[in-house]
């Protein structure tokens, strides 16, 4: 019998549940890619993946470390360009779900990956948007994967790289952006929201995590309903899929393999 899923593994399965059969999904590498692959090999066999570097509808081999890793380019429909994917698919409106990460997510689901202010008041430079702004500007559903740390959940991002609900209900429309729903998945909980709400609400907790555990690690208070669901364990077959097929060397779960993450 397999060990039950850790909360970081559960995050992958919970992300996979956000992908429906036949949808077009844009993913980078890491946990979002694993989530899309879990979906593809379980409940959503006809999910179509696209990768910003130009890879259209590939079969993925274990275990890509980059959006240009050749392991991500197996048997695709096309190997094209960044313009084709971020322009011809994402901005064109052909993508259903976008997966992102970020350094900060705020109360209104805005995402920062450009710079943060350090404890010394100095700006700490981060990589920047990449395709994230494009994805958050044009996709109708966004799934954001985050490590749940207090510094990563400020009331307001130091810099809005990728638009969530901006200043609140109606703000996306006023800015010229289409409506969007957002799911933020962390190792502690699931947060959700859409344009009409204009802010995030606590939708579910990871097993063994309390509402207070979540709130203690955030600088804002999300909407908290009376009853909050608990994320369920995946079937053992799906755990085996993740651990033995999709990421056999545990590249994305170094804690499970007793490794330390490189670089």
């Amino acid at each position: 019998m397999s060990e039950p899923a850790t909360n970081r593994e559960l995050l992958v399965f919970e992300a996979a549940r956000r992908v429906h059969d036949g949808e077009c999904v844009i993913v980078g590498t890491g946990l979002p890619l694993l989530a899309a692959l879990v979906a593809q090999r379980t409940h959503a066999p006809r999910v179509q993946l696209i990768i910003e570097s130009g890879v259209v509808f590939p079969t993925v081999l274990p275990t890509p470390m980059s959006v240009v890793d050749p392991r991500l380019m197996h048997a695709p429909s096309r190997l094209g360009s960044l313009l084709e994917v971020l322009g011809g698919f994402v901005q064109r409106g052909l993508v259903d779900v976008g997966f992102l990460g970020g350094a900060q997510v705020d109360e209104r689901a805005n995402i920062n990956s450009t710079w943060v202010e350090g404890d010394d008041g100095k700006r700490r430079r981060l990589p920047g948007s990449g395709g994230a702004n494009d994805i958050a500007s044009s996709c109708r559903r966004l799934v954001v994967l985050m490590s749940h740390e207090r510094r990563r959940f400020p009331a307001r991002c130091d810099f809005v790289t990728s638009p969530g609900f901006l200043s609140g209900p109606g703000a996306r429309r006023a800015a010229g952006l289409p409506p969007m729903s957002v799911t933020v998945l962390t190792d502690l909980c699931v947060l959700e929201g859409d344009d009409d709400e204009g802010r995030l609400r606590l939708a579910a907790l990871m097993p063994g995590v309390s509402v207070d555990d979540v709130l203690d690690r955030m600088q804002f208070v999300p909407v908290v309903p009376e009853d909050v669901a608990v994320v369920s364990q995946p079937p053992a077959s799906q755990l085996d899929l993740l651990r033995e097929v999709l990421d056999p060397d545990r590249r994305y779960f170094p804690e499970a393999a007793g490794m330390t993450e490189k670089a």
């Binding site: 130009g54 990449g130 790289t161 638009p163 490189k262």
Partner: protein
């Protein structure tokens, strides 16, 4: 000509050989690049175009290509993305020649950009991202930005490639639906900020962002194959490279393989970039090492991790690394020989790539 400007170029990158080149590039920059080529080309013909040596034979060494086309203060378009097909051989040569005051443009700036920054050759970057994904950020770039030594204009990947698209089409600007509402967006009153300005779609009445064209003075690409005329064949994804090269005054390519003209003529639809945009062809097998070339060789994780650990340690460390591995050798073959004396690393990377690009492979057979 190369001594006209040195590393003291103005931070906005506008001080140039012809004094007029802004971030958008001009016909004058095109002429300057061509003139520079003509000045140093021993065999320059009267019919020179696109800064080429000769339209029939643009093959030259990396040292010569960099001497001709990468001038102090040049706006340099950076090919490659993350761990794939980065123009490492050309960037090593720029480090050896110490060409400074550079403005780097690209979508994802990666390993080669970090080396140019670490060598103190960069004054400004315009990019969608600066990182190596799972292998970490660009440590030298990050430190230089945080110290205020490099001016940065932030874009998304799509807006950078859209700017190159405008440049490639000869358009002054082009709209995008990205950036709207974010902190990268320009002022709502339409005042331009950097290469962006807010506007309204005249038909739909909806907000858009206008992007100024981007026109690098010289772009650097590493490709699979080229013929002597400069017709380029790239296999696999091209990221932003084709739009960027077509927007540039001139492009230098290093290639894994030089092919006969007639091989290209037989399958012209497979040409990724026609010769009109290419000024120099440098034959350099493993010219992207330690990054990958699709169907040729995988990336060298050990070498990338080593560079990242050196770069993370500090500027003195990475300068020492550049001294030992780049400046101490004559050319990129010298670097490869130093890194991998017996060729075993390269053989392994070729073998790995063969395995993962086999058509019959499945995820299960990888196990």
């Amino acid at each position: 000509m190369r001594d006209v400007l040195d590393g003291t170029t103005r931070l906005d990158g506008t001080a140039r050989l012809d004094g007029t080149r802004g971030a958008g590039g001009t016909a004058a920059s095109f002429a300057a690049a061509a003139a520079a080529a003509a000045a140093s080309a021993a065999s320059s013909g009267a019919d020179e175009k696109c800064g080429s040596a000769s339209n029939d034979d643009k093959v030259m060494s990396a040292a010569e290509a960099v001497r001709r086309f990468v001038l102090p203060g040049s706006i340099v378009g950076m090919g490659g993305q993350n761990i794939n097909r980065c123009p490492m051989a050309l960037v090593h040569e720029i480090v050896r020649q110490g060409v400074g005051g550079l403005v780097l443009m690209g979508c994802n700036l990666s390993l080669p950009a970090d080396m140019l920054v670490a060598a103190g050759l960069v004054v400004r970057t315009e990019q969608g991202s600066g990182n190596l994904e799972r292998y970490g950020t660009l440590f030298a770039w990050r430190r230089a930005v945080e110290r205020g030594e490099i001016v940065v204009e932030d874009h998304s990947h799509l807006t950078m490639v859209t700017r190159f698209l405008a440049g490639s089409l000869g358009l002054p600007f082009i709209p995008t639906l990205s950036l709207l509402g974010s902190d990268m967006a320009p002022p709502a009153d339409g005042t331009p900020r950097g290469s962006m300005a807010a506007a309204v779609d005249p038909w739909a009445g909806q907000p858009v962002v206008l992007l100024r064209k981007a026109r690098p003075d010289v772009s650097l690409l590493h490709v699979h194959a080229a013929d002597a005329r400069g017709n380029v064949i790239i296999e696999g994804v091209t990221s932003h490279e084709i739009e960027m090269a077509k927007a540039s005054a001139v492009t230098i390519v290093t290639c894994e393989e030089l092919v006969e003209d007639h091989e290209v003529s037989r399958r012209p639809e497979q040409v990724s970039l026609p010769s009109a945009y290419v000024g120099a062809v440098v034959v350099q097998p493993f010219g992207a090492f330690p990054t990958s070339v699709y169907r040729r060789y995988d990336f060298s994780e050990d070498d990338i991790v080593e560079y990242q650990s050196v770069a993370r340690a500090g500027d003195a460390d990475v300068r020492r690394w550049l001294d030992e591995h780049v400046r101490a050798v004559a050319d990129f073959d010298g670097f490869l020989a130093r890194r991998d004396p017996a060729g075993t690393v390269r053989a392994e990377l070729v073998s790995t790539m063969e395995t993962i690009t086999m058509e019959t492979i499945t995820m299960e057979t990888m196990l």
